[in-house]
Every structure is written in structure tokens, then in C-alpha cells.
């Protein structure tokens, strides 16, 4: 019976394994195809360049697992960069005050959206879309121009390279991995995490089982808000600027990463590590494109689409056959 249990649990991981294997094969193809592709730094760059996306996608995973969606993440990221730049550069606030403030702001915004969604029973799509409008709009009310950051704390966060032998990572990448680890623990080893899954399985049942549905929902959106704000902070490190047009369409990338990672958009089923893989898939596609270096603008899009297509279809077919 224990072996059987192990088997069922393993079966649950098949999609994850398939995704990982596909990812590795894609990397191998890239290495054969392009000079300089097969290097540890390329892999680490995936993390460095996508740290903010990873953090945002982790938050999105929570929301999607409950069967919701958060369209506001990209705009909240932009707003976070904007507020950081504005306060630090134009008002001279210390970064150590600004960063917690921005995180708090994101969390509160997310919490509020979750509250509206639950209490007034409005579809998450609309509420977070309004949140997206609001956050972007607030960016422009601060400034329509981009604001550069020259603050030493930010620049050192941006330019610090933590050596790993010959290679290096950025602090942001480490922060992102830390977030993944923390989220993993929360999802799999705390009641909150299990409530998230329950809510996604059936909200009605979760309510009747006496689970704290409202609290879970608001928390989940608050987490997504927090992750977006943190993503914004990481993006600020990355870009050293605040700008209202940062992270346009990031919500779709985040959702795509979550879904590619095997999480069901209808909620209740998915893996956090899948999201990590999803982000890597998107990043790797981007890397392949830039290594190719001969694609015109439209071919870039077509090839991104085609690679995504091949990946998704293979992933589906292999997992389907295994069952």
C-alpha cells in the first residue's frame, strides 16, 4: 500500500518531469545550434534576466491555484518601479524605507482586490483588470516620463555580481529563488497552502467544509500583490529606472509561465516548481531567439509562437500518452 501511495504521488509529478525533460532538450538543441550557448552563464542569465518574472509568476501561481486570475501584476510592477524611482530620486527618501513601503503598497492593493472579489462576488478578471488600469494610470499621474535611479543602494544591487566559480548571479536572482523556496513551503506545508488548493478544487465545498474562504482568497491576492511589488523592486534593480510603460503585458507572460508549468487555469491543480520551469521555458525561448540573431521583427514573433507550440503540444502528447 505504501508503494502504491508512492506510485500515485509519482504519477502526479509526471507532467513536471516531462516539462523538465523538454526544457533540457531545448537547451541541448540550442547548444548544438549556436556558439557560446552551452555555458553555465547562459543558464544563470535565464535567472538573472527573469528574476522579476519568476517572482511575479510565483504570486500568480497562488491566484491561479484558487481558480482566480490576476491581470494587475504587470501594472503593479510598473507602479512599484515608478513609486520607488519617484520617492528615491525626486524626494530623496532612503531606499530602506521605500522598498518596504512599496511592498506594503502592493500587498494592500492585492488584498483590496481580493476583498472586492470575494465580498461583492465580482469576477476576478474584471476586478484585477480595473486594478491594472488603476496602477498604470497612477504611474502616469506620477510622471509620463521615465525616471532614472542613481541612488547607490539601487545601483549596487543592480551591479553586484555574486561569483559562482567562473560564473556569476545577481542578488535579484537569489531573491527570486528564495521566494520560490518560501512559496513552495507555504503551498505544500502550511494550512494556507492547502486551503488554496481546496478553494481551487471547489469553492462551494471549501466553504461547507468550514475553511476560511474569504481569508484565503484575500490572502492569495495579497500574496500576488506582494510578489508583484517585489517583482517591481527587482525590476527597479534591473532597469535602474521607474517607468509607466515597464512590464507591459507581463501579466500574460506570468500566466503563460504558470500554465506551461502545468497549473490548471480552472484551479486546484498545479505545482510551484512547474512555474519555475515555465519561466525558464519562456526565458529560454527568448535566449534562443537572440542567439539566432537573424530574425526580423515578425519572424521573432512567429518563431516564439512556433517554439511555444512545439513545446506545448509535445508536453501534452507525452503526458497524455503516459496515462
Amino acid at each position: 500500500m505504501n508503494a502504491q501511495a508512492l506510485l500515485t504521488r509519482l504519477r502526479g509529478q509526471v507532467p513536471l518531469l516531462v516539462t523538465a525533460v523538454l526544457l533540457v532538450s531545448m537547451f541541448s538543441v540550442g547548444s548544438v545550434q549556436y556558439d557560446g550557448f552551452f555555458s553555465g552563464q547562459v543558464v544563470l542569465n535565464l535567472l538573472i534576466d527573469n528574476a522579476f518574472l519568476l517572482v511575479v509568476a510565483v504570486g500568480m501561481t497562488f491566484v491561479v491555484l484558487t481558480g482566480g486570475i490576476d491581470l494587475s501584476v504587470g501594472a503593479v510592477v510598473a507602479l512599484s518601479t515608478m513609486v520607488s524611482a519617484w520617492l528615491v530620486e525626486q524626494h530623496g527618501w532612503p531606499p530602506l524605507l521605500v522598498i518596504p513601503l512599496v511592498l506594503l503598497m502592493g500587498t494592500a492593493g492585492g488584498w483590496l482586490m481580493g476583498w472586492i472579489i470575494h465580498v461583492f462576488e465580482i469576477q476576478p478578471f474584471i476586478v484585477t483588470l480595473a486594478g491594472m488600469f488603476l496602477a498604470r494610470g497612477l504611474c502616469y499621474t506620477i510622471s509620463v516620463e521615465s525616471i532614472s535611479i542613481t541612488d547607490p543602494t539601487y545601483t549596487s544591487m543592480a551591479q553586484t555580481r555574486i561569483p559562482l566559480g567562473d560564473l556569476f548571479v545577481s542578488p535579484s536572482a537569489l531573491i527570486a529563488l528564495l521566494v520560490v523556496a518560501a512559496a513552495f513551503v507555504v503551498l505544500h506545508y502550511t494550512r494556507l497552502g492547502r486551503n488554496v488548493y481546496a478553494l481551487g478544487g471547489s469553492e462551494q465545498s471549501a466553504l461547507l467544509m468550514g475553511l476560511p474562504v474569504q481569508r484565503t482568497k484575500t490572502t492569495v491576492y495579497a500574496i500576488s500583490g506582494f510578489c508583484s511589488a517585489l517583482g517591481g523592486v527587482l525590476l527597479t534593480f534591473y532597469m535602474l529606472s521607474g517607468y509607466g510603460l515597464h512590464a507591459v503585458g507581463l501579466e500574460l507572460d506570468a500566466i503563460a509561465a504558470v500554465v506551461i508549468g502545468g497549473t490548471l487555469l480552472t484551479g486546484g491543480s498545479g505545482y510551484l516548481l512547474g512555474t519555475l520551469l515555465g519561466v525558464l521555458v519562456l526565458g529560454l525561448i527568448q535566449t534562443v531567439i537572440s542567439f539566432q540573431g537573424t530574425l526580423s521583427s515578425w519572424w521573432t514573433r512567429i518563431v516564439i509562437g512556433a517554439l511555444l507550440f512545439v513545446f506545448i503540444v509535445l508536453q501534452r502528447l507525452i503526458t497524455a500518452r503516459r496515462r
Binding site: 481546496a198 466553504l207 467544509m209
Partner: protein, 506 residues
């Protein structure tokens, strides 16, 4: 019973748009008693329970818990106040494992983190107590509705509350499981827990309950000691009319009929599906009712699904009207005149958002294809005919199905398949949650359909019902068809049970 009631409601009123579900209902529950809540389908039993536990806000009246007036805002608050509930439809999370479903919200923790090992171990222990053999780390939706019902019970019982509410917990359980459940209930009662029990099985009620409260049309009919009200009187209180005798309700004596002979409509020959049913043979002739008996999880549903193309068989042959047929989908089966009324009305049966009318015509419409719509008049005619025939309440064909009481939903599901006028009707627990008046009607209906030449495969956890209707009974055990017994009048529930127990051909 001098004590103070642990739970008391006074003058509870609940209105839904267009329906008064509860109208001034009083109700008391004492510690250490098992109390039955009785009434026809749609009488308001489940609604009372939902109001009590805060799922629906009440429109009037008060709830007194241990002497204090309370306002219970939701199931969470109810649980915190010591009321543990199993609602009528299985309300668990299908995506989570059995163990999680039992413990979610109160998972054992170590250092603040969930202790998975402990959780699985304790879940396995609890499940074993009910003599259930399930893998607690498998997802809940890999189990049949009966198992899910038991898991819900295990969860509720383990909460160790002051008040335990069970809304039709036995609707798909077989005798053994019911016996085990009752043992648990008695033990809890003796520990001073107050238990509210809803069931349409009068025998069960008389076996385990001390007192009962009868509802009729959302109104309180009265509160009685079980010992002071016999079954006939109870039923007349429930339906509000005098009855000549119980016999009428029980569907009368078993019909004396000779089994039809002639070519089989459907023949399964060593039909099998790995992990679901071992190879089995089965013939069903037009005009014949074949029953399937077996314990919970014995594979009756799985066997039936193969005959409908709901699952693909991976061995054996199926002949329909003599021709070898591979059913690739339910659609294939329907095209050949087969209908399948599934046991799980919530997930596999009804479309909750659609109206009663739409749900009733759905199968017929699907068979006709979208280009040949049933006219609205025809739809209304079908809907009204079966609303009347099965006494579906409320009798409004435009009511949303998800707002109907459980029993009435079941009737809608049945109506859906009856209007397709199939050659073979597969009924999997068709009377689940149906009150005894309607049950008799349905049994009569099935018998009449068979007499008119329909082949019927009848699956029910209630053995008496199977025997009353069937010409022949297939017995399953551990996913294997162990016997087919002719029901020529001499077949008794005991003999079937013995067959199941011995697992040998009788």
C-alpha cells in the same frame, strides 16, 4: 430528557425567490440523542440544516446554542461552535487526497508545518475504523460517490463536536456500511453527542433514532418519540394524507412475472477493463430487468459504464442486437438506444445552471443534433409531463436545477433518460435520496417500462429494491461478477448476501 437542548431553533423562516422553503419551523436537539428529521423531497430538511449552519442566512427566527442566542455566520463559525456537518451533496474537494479531505483545516502540524506522515497515518486509521479499504493519499475523485460519502462522514465524526448533523449519509451506502455507521453514531450518542440524522429509509430511522421531527412543505408537522409513532402514521404525517397501508408505499409485493425469453438486446462476452472490472458475461433481453448487487466498490458502476461507452473496454466483446459493437463514446451507445442514469448526479448528471426543462430535454436534444431543435412547446410538454409524473417540486420547469432539493434533482435526472425512450435503460442508484412515496412510483414505472419491452439494468445499494424489480441479479464482488441468480421468487436478500460473502457461484 429533562436537560436543556444543546441546539434549538424557533420560528425559523427561509425564503428563496418564489419559494418559501421554511416557514416558522421549531426544532430541538438534545445531547445524547439521535434525532431524525423527516419529510418528503423538498420539505425543507436540507434547507433547515443549511440555515442552522449559516450557509444560508435566515429570514426570521432564532437559533439557540447551549442556552445562548447566536448568529452563525457560516460553516466555519458553525464548526467553531461545535457543530459538525455532512451536507447532502458530497461537499469535499475532489482534487485533494482522501487524507487531506479528512483533515483539511485541522491538519496535524509539527514546528508549524503540516506533518504529512502523521496526517496520512491518522487518516488511514480513521478510514480503517469504518472498514474501508482506500488509499488515503489518492485523490478523492478516484473513488465512487459512496466512498466519498464515507470520507465526508469520517471527517465530520473526527471533528468530535457537540452536534453532528448528517444529511442523508446513507443514500448510497450498503447494509454493511450502514451498520458500521450506526455503530459509530451510537458510540458518539453515548458520549453525549447530539446527532441529527436525515434519511428516507424508514427502517434505518426506526433502528437508530430516538426522536423525530417531521416537516411538510416547509412547515413543522410535529415532534415525536420514535417509539410512539409507527411507520404508517409517520408517513401520513409526512405526506399529509391518511394511508390505507404501508404496502402501497413499499411498492407492493414482488411482481410475479416470468422472465422474457428471446434474443438478447445486449450481450457482454468477457467484457473487461483493467483495474476496473474483471471479464464478465451479461445478457439483457428486451422486457427484462437485470439487477446488479454487490458491496460498495464492488465494481457495479464500472461494469455498467462499459456498456455505455463511458469508459472503453480493453477486452471482450459487446453485442448489441446481435451485432458486435465497439462503443467509443456515450454518443455511440445512445445512438444504439442505450441510456445511462449515472449515480453521481452533481458531477456526472445535471448541469446546475440550466433549468429543469433544459436538463430534462438535454439527452434527447443531443441525440437529435443541434439542427433539429425540440420546439419550445415540445420541451414544455415533456417537462410538465414528467414533473407531474414524478412529482418534481417546485413544479416550475424554469427553476434552476441546482436550486432543487436533492431528491427532486434525482427525479429530473431520471426524467431526462426516460424521455429518450431507450431500448436499454441503465439505472445506477436511481432512487438515491428519493423519498419513499416517489420511490414506489419510480419502481412501478421501471416495472411498467420493462413490461412494455424495455431492457433495464438496475443498480442499487438497497438490496430489497433490486430484488423487488429484477428478473435476474448479477452479483459482483471485488470487481468480479461472481454469480447471476435467477429471481424466481425464492431469492432473498440473505441469499444474495451469502453469495457475496462466499464469493462463489450459488
Amino acid at each position: 430528557m429533562r436537560q436543556q437542548p444543546v441546539l434549538e431553533v424557533r420560528g425559523i423562516r427561509k425564503e428563496f425567490p418564489g419559494v418559501v422553503a421554511l416557514d416558522g419551523v421549531d426544532f430541538r436537539l438534545f445531547p445524547g440523542e439521535v434525532h431524525a428529521l423527516m419529510g418528503e423531497n423538498g420539505a425543507g430538511k436540507s434547507t433547515l440544516i443549511k440555515v442552522l449552519t449559516g450557509v444560508h442566512p435566515s429570514d426570521g427566527g432564532e437559533v439557540v446554542l447551549a442556552g445562548e442566542r447566536v448568529r452563525i455566520a457560516g460553516p466555519l463559525q458553525a464548526q467553531q461552535a461545535g457543530i459538525s456537518t455532512v451536507y447532502q451533496e458530497v461537499n469535499l474537494c475532489p482534487n485533494l487526497s482522501v487524507a487531506e479531505n479528512i483533515f483539511i483545516g485541522r491538519e496535524p502540524r509539527r514546528f508549524g508545518l503540516i506533518d504529512w506522515t502523521a496526517m496520512r497515518r491518522r487518516a488511514a486509521e480513521l478510514v480503517r475504523e469504518l472498514e474501508l479499504d482506500v488509499d488515503v493519499s489518492a485523490p478523492l475523485n478516484s473513488y465512487s460517490i459512496a466512498v466519498q460519502q464515507l470520507v465526508a462522514i469520517v471527517r465530520a465524526v473526527d471533528v468530535s463536536a457537540k452536534v453532528l448533523i448528517l444529511d442523508e449519509p446513507t443514500s448510497s451506502l450498503d447494509r454493511d456500511e450502514v451498520r458500521q455507521l450506526f455503530a459509530v453514531m451510537r458510540r458518539l450518542r453515548d458520549q453525549g453527542v447530539a446527532i441529527l440524522f436525515v434519511s428516507h429509509f424508514l427502517d434505518q430511522v426506526y433502528e437508530v433514532c430516538d426522536r423525530m421531527t417531521v416537516l411538510r412543505n416547509g412547515r413543522l408537522e410535529g415532534e415525536y418519540l420514535t417509539s410512539e409513532l409507527n411507520q404508517v402514521e409517520l408517513v401520513s404525517r409526512m405526506i399529509g394524507a391518511e394511508l390505507a397501508g404501508l404496502d402501497q408505499l413499499g411498492g407492493g409485493k414482488r411482481r410475479e412475472r416470468t422472465a422474457p425469453t428471446g434474443p438478447a438486446f445486449l450481450q457482454a462476452d468477457r467484457l473487461t477493463r483493467r483495474g476496473a472490472v474483471e471479464p464478465y458475461d451479461l445478457d439483457i433481453r428486451p422486457g427484462e430487468v437485470v439487477g446488479l448487487a454487490g458491496l460498495l466498490g464492488s465494481g457495479r458502476t464500472e461494469a455498467a459504464r462499459l456498456l455505455f461507452g463511458a469508459d472503453q473496454s480493453d477486452g471482450g466483446t459487446l453485442r448489441i442486437e446481435g451485432a458486435v459493437t465497439a462503443l467509443r463514446s456515450p454518443r455511440d451507445a445512445i445512438a444504439r438506444g442505450i441510456a445511462f442514469c449515472s449515480e453521481n448526479r452533481k458531477t456526472e448528471g445535471l448541469v446546475g445552471e440550466l433549468t429543469v426543462r433544459e436538463n430534462i430535454v438535454l439527452a434527447l436534444q443531443a441525440a437529435r443534433g443541434w439542427t433539429r431543435p425540440l420546439s419550445r412547446t415540445a420541451q414544455d410538454a415533456y417537462a410538465l409531463k414528467w414533473i407531474r409524473a414524478l412529482d418534481i417540486r417546485p413544479g416550475n420547469p424554469e427553476a434552476l436545477v441546482r436550486n432543487l432539493s436533492g431528491g427532486n434533482q434525482q427525479k429530473v435526472l431520471l426524467a431526462r433518460w426516460l424521455i429518450t425512450d431507450p431500448k436499454l435503460l441503465i439505472l445506477d442508484e436511481p432512487t438515491r435520496g428519493i423519498d419513499i412515496g416517489a420511490k414506489a412510483e419510480i419502481q412501478k414505472l421501471v416495472a411498467n417500462l420493462a413490461e412494455d419491452g424495455m431492457a433495464v439494468l438496475f443498480i442499487s445499494a438497497e438490496l430489497e429494491e433490486v430484488l423487488r424489480l429484477s428478473h435476474r441479479v448479477g452479483v459482483l464482488r471485488d470487481h468480479r461478477m461472481v454469480a447471476q441468480l435467477d429471481n424466481d421468487g425464492g431469492l432473498t436478500p440473505e441469499r444474495v448476501m451469502a453469495t457475496i460473502a462466499s464469493g462463489a457461484h450459488a
